[in-house]
Symmetry: C2
Subunit: 215 residues, 2 copies
């Protein structure tokens, strides 16, 4: 209640606390990437973090919250990707963006947790918010809302097609342990599809721009 005294005391420790927390979260994420969900256990996470189960139970009384935190970290890792120069069209940029996401090993952890949350309803309830937050990653409606890019139904279909294809490539990476032999082939095809669609959209915008007059 009286946050004054607690604050001064706990603020000194806060770094210490979050150190162990981050260790556990990072260890969980690394284990998910290397061993998958089924082999990512409490003791395994503690082993990797160099801590004991006491620490795990202290910071994460509910094991699902650890996985939720790991999922959030994985999403953050994908969102922290360097923003590309915006020379290209929006759909072409979308291909680059989606591809740079699925290339990261964190993407495997995301897939593992996606499937696990569906297999285990209890875990699914715990992860639901984290999943909902991160499902925007491949959703053009959420991602482009702040840009001044209008989203026609046809364009949205292409956006989502690109996303799904990249998810497929990401699964292929997770399954084969490395990039599929035809990954660049598919990415090139997606780039061609994206450029075609970008051209169509650009032409339509220009036409409408002529009607509206210059800004």
């Amino acid at each position: 209640m009286n946050g004054e005294l607690e604050g001064s005391a706990s603020r000194q420790r806060e770094r210490h606390v979050s150190e162990a927390r981050h260790k556990l979260i990072d260890a969980a994420l690394a284990s998910l990437i290397e061993l998958g969900f089924s082999r990512t256990t409490g003791v395994e996470v503690c082993r990797r973090a160099g801590l004991t189960r006491g620490a795990l139970n202290y910071h994460f009384p509910d094991y699902g919250n650890l996985l939720a935190a790991a999922l959030g970290t994985a999403y953050d890792n994908l969102l922290d990707l360097p923003t590309r120069p915006r020379d290209e069209g929006p759909l072409e940029g979308w291909v680059q963006r989606a591809h740079s996401c699925i290339v990261r090993p964190d993407f495997k952890a995301i897939i593992e947790l996606w499937l696990a949350s569906q297999n285990d309803p209890e875990l699914g309830a715990t992860l639901s918010e984290a999943i909902a937050q991160g499902s925007q990653l491949f959703d053009p409606v959420f991602t482009l809302v702040d840009c001044d890019i209008e989203l026609t139904p046809e364009a949205e279909a292409v956006y989502r097609t690109i996303s799904e294809a990249c998810v497929g490539l990401g699964v292929g990476r997770s399954v084969s342990g490395g990039p599929l032999a035809h990954e660049t082939q598919v990415i090139d095809a997606l780039l061609n599809i994206a450029r075609d669609a970008d051209r169509k959209i650009s032409n339509r915008t220009k036409k409408r721009g002529a009607d509206h007059g210059a800004h």
Copy 2:
């Protein structure tokens, strides 16, 4: 060695044997679909099959072989899909084919085992042949070899793009427990892409057909 006596004796039982085997395999497949890999355990499979672990150990001393058999059954289920009328172009048909594959619940079991085989190297060795056999499902090079369809690099890229997009949709189904809201949207976009590519190929073939003369 002398298969005569063994044959007459065991042939009587063969139906009985394969009954239990099939029960176990089907139970494993159902468990993979409903509970995923991590929760698909020996006792769970036996419970579903109405048998005991003695039967499981008798028919599948190596647990991985049960999963391999389940994977093979899942592939068979996908391959036994009704062949569509061939009115459409080859790429358009490929979209239909890939989509009809990922719609089946068996596809989730395949994804689960794909990931599990990568996470567990020992299991991966056991499943490798079954996986190799079934990876042809989405590989146009293997699937179209008996058809008289020639496969240009550009066409192959579109084939694989369609496949990866459908895999992405399949994962989405496995994750959300049902079809994604934009599944038909993506399929329609893929159909458009496929028809475009089919047209290009068709034109090129006609042109070359004119050079060769009629058959």
